[in-house]
């Protein structure tokens, strides 16, 4: 029996009075990997931000249920505590706050208990090794002066430490070199189990060589217009969105 983890029903979202998501439906069961693809400006990041609870994105109607609870009104920190995680397309730089201090505080907020410094240092070191990140990054200021790829790896580091139930990866693969894509994918696969789910937003198939998706969806003009399996991603890769647009766009 499969358990529903995320259930989005007829979601309409606007930003600055402009409607971006226009009736979006999506359900993700525990343990599943879903991929969302779609043309630029289609609303993928909007969906990701809305799921995470960004205050600028207004839910006009519809429902987001996570772990059997309606979370429309929850703040971002409350959602994180419930097990949601977003790997940002453009991670913020926070000056003066080290990766390590930040992550220790974040972990404590999510789990409700502060881990000792020594054991946390060990944990972070382990996770960084897996991601082939240099140890010194732990004591650097969060994302400050990180290269594009380093920022993305740092997102995955955060994910692997916070161990969310649902991780949304917004173009985490963009800007990564081929080796880094593999390493990041391995990082993602590590937290994947039959309880945890992943929602991958991507433009490329490369990541899907490593992370086997259960479903692929096409998000266009604020709606999921087509869903399928991995073969749908292949089709897009070869043909682009024109055919789909011709069929579904309004």
């Amino acid at each position: 029996m499969e358990n529903l983890l995320l259930n989005i029903k007829d979601l309409k979202v606007s930003i600055e009075e402009k409607e971006i998501l226009r009736g979006l439906d999506l359900s993700i069961n525990e343990g599943e990997v879903h991929v969302i693809m779609g043309p630029n400006g289609g609303g993928k990041s909007t969906l990701a931000y809305t799921l995470m609870g960004h205050p600028s994105y207004h839910i006009e109607s519809g429902a987001i249920e996570f772990d059997s609870e309606l979370i429309n009104e929850l703040r971002a920190d409350e959602r994180a505590k419930k097990g949601l995680f977003l790997s940002f397309q453009y991670p913020e730089e926070i000056s003066g706050v080290t990766v390590e201090d930040f992550l220790r505080t974040a972990k404590a907020s999510v789990t409700g208990e502060m881990q000792g410094i020594i054991s946390f240092k060990k944990l972070i070191k382990e996770k960084m090794e897996l991601l082939e990140m240099k140890e010194e990054y732990a004591t650097r200021y969060l994302n400050v002066g990180f290269s594009g790829g380093e920022k993305k790896k740092n997102e995955i580091l955060q994910m692997s430490i916070l161990e969310p139930k649902l991780a949304i990866l917004d173009e985490t693969d963009s800007g990564l070199d081929v080796d880094a894509i593999r390493i990041v994918a391995e990082g993602v696969n590590k937290i994947r189990d039959n309880k945890r789910s992943i929602l991958v937003i991507t433009h490329y198939n490369k990541l899907l060589d490593y992370i086997e998706p259960d479903f692929v969806h096409i998000l266009m003009d604020g709606k999921i217009v087509k869903s399928g399996g991995k073969e749908l991603a292949m089709e897009i890769d070869e043909q682009g969105y024109e055919n789909i647009r011709a069929k579904y766009a309004n």
């Binding site: 703040r75 920190d77 994180a80 930040f102 907020s109």
Partner: protein
């Protein structure tokens, strides 16, 4: 979840706000007249030249207009200020001998404990006079002098004659003249050639009396190749009358010498803090200013470095935190008067709840001062829409063989950054505090440890309840 919405104005100030009974042995009437000045000088048993100096300063004071730039001083009525209050205590060298209530005040501020744990010497001033002074014997044995100015005037009169208000003359501006007329208390430090004072000396200034002024004078001479870290702390309980602080700091850094001068000022919000600080740096000498301005109603404070000798260096690290009803006009001035001198300025300010933080800086390079280097960075962070921040860095270059970097940033706390942190489970309040702490981190790490901790607590408390 319940969120704290009430903002308690001075909650962080609890330990500072405990007022003692206003006991004194002698005080002058309010206001300023030659008679009052003579009375102060007589009360202090001063040599004639000092009495004359005071009277001359008073004349200069009368002749100068109130500054009309920067801050609003219209509420400050000097005629309402009591210029001199001798506490009911003599200067002691052990805390046991200091009267109970005064001792308790300093205990609460953690001074005796800091002395035991991490300081080489301590001076404590209460209202107009120094009530405690002590320095480690091994420093005395090396010829280090640390005492109050009054004692110095008796024991080292020649040095005082040579240096006192020579760097900041009474003609400098109205409040320097006022200081020259009514100065009292403060510290005199002399570090002989080659002596390295490796743990800091600290003077703490406490103004207890309502409606009073504090005009302490600090004179530090660091001889050739010597080294010193001096910490100055200030606080006062809050009253509903205006208090005035017009201290003066004169620092002489000789060839190859280094002085770090740290100030943490947490005056109450009825205080006008109009302080003048200046350092004269000889060849290859270094002055390091570390300055934290948190309190007062109005501040005008611009520590100045005059790099007089070739290769002299100045480093300024400052943080200003302005909240409700506070207008803090702070910054620094650097004069490159010799070739190959270098300066760095790293200033940060935070304003919240209607506070106004203004950075005012001057960088001046003399015509013959070639090959100089300067880098100035000032950043302001406003935590809400009702607070203000401005920067005015003035740069005056009189030759073009100079390497100069300048950066000024004014911004509000970023909603995207808050969201990013919140998406990792961190509450909005903690996210803001984290960003603010991160913003001041480069400064905090320069502060003496106990003050760094205090600054962080201050940030936490100040941020509580700012979330609507």
């Amino acid at each position: 979840m319940e969120r704290k919405k009430t903002y308690v104005e001075d909650v962080s100030r609890t330990i500072y706000d405990i007022k003692n009974k206003f006991d004194y042995r002698f005080k002058t009437d309010k206001g300023l007249t030659p008679e009052i000045i003579k009375e102060i000088s007589k009360e202090k048993n001063e040599p004639q030249w000092m009495t004359d100096f005071r009277l001359k300063s008073l004349e200069i004071y009368y002749s100068k207009p109130m500054p009309t730039w920067g801050v609003d001083l219209t509420d400050l009525d000097i005629d309402e200020i009591i210029a001199y209050i001798r506490p009911d205590a003599d200067m002691k060298t052990t805390w046991e001998e200091v009267p109970e209530d005064i001792k308790d005040t300093f205990e609460r501020l953690g001074i005796p404990q800091a002395e035991r744990e991490s300081l080489a010497g301590v001076g404590a001033q209460y209202d107009s006079e120094v009530v405690y002074h002590n320095i480690k014997q091994e420093l005395v044995d090396q010829g280090v002098i640390y005492t109050d100015i009054e004692t110095a005037l008796v024991e080292y009169e020649d040095i005082l004659k040579e240096y006192f208000m020579k760097l900041v003359p009474p003609t400098d501006h109205k409040f320097a003249a006022l200081h020259g007329a009514v100065w009292s208390g403060g510290s005199f430090v002399y570090v002989p050639e080659g002596v390295n004072v490796d743990i800091p000396l600290q003077s703490y200034f406490r103004l207890n009396a309502p409606g009073a002024g504090q005009f302490e004078h600090t004179l530090i001479i660091v001889e050739k190749g010597a080294k010193l870290h001096f910490i100055e702390g200030c606080s006062a309980p809050v009253y509903n009358v205006n208090n005035l602080h017009a201290g003066c700091v004169e620092l002489f850094i000789k060839e190859d010498a280094t002085l770090r001068y740290s100030t943490i000022e947490n005056w109450s919000r009825n205080m006008y803090n109009l302080n003048t600080k200046r350092a004269l740096v000889d060849k290859n000498g270094t002055i390091e200013w570390v300055s934290g301005s948190f309190g007062s109603k109005v501040s005008m404070l611009y520590p100045m470095s005059i790099l007089k000798g070739e290769g002299a260096r100045s480093e300024f690290t400052g943080i200003t935190f302005a909240s409700t009803g506070q207008h803090l006009d702070t910054g620094t001035k650097v004069v490159h008067a010799a070739p190959h001198t270098t300066s760095t300025v790293n200033s940060k300010s935070i304003s919240k709840n209607g506070g106004y933080a203004f950075y005012r800086g001057l960088l001046k390079v003399a015509p013959g001062a070639y090959g100089c280097k300067s880098s100035v960075s000032c950043e302001s962070l406003m935590l809400d829409n009702i607070s203000k921040s401005d920067t005015l860095p003035i740069i005056e270059l009189n030759n073009d063989d100079i390497d100069i970097g300048h950066e000024a940033k004014i911004g509000r706390i970023s909603d995207e950054a808050i969201f990013y942190l919140m998406s990792r489970g961190i509450s909005e309040e903690e996210a803001k505090a984290m960003i603010v702490r991160g913003f001041v981190e480069p400064i905090t790490k320069e502060l003496p440890l106990e003050y760094a901790v205090e600054l962080n607590n201050l940030i936490n408390i100040e941020l509580e309840g700012t979330i609507g």
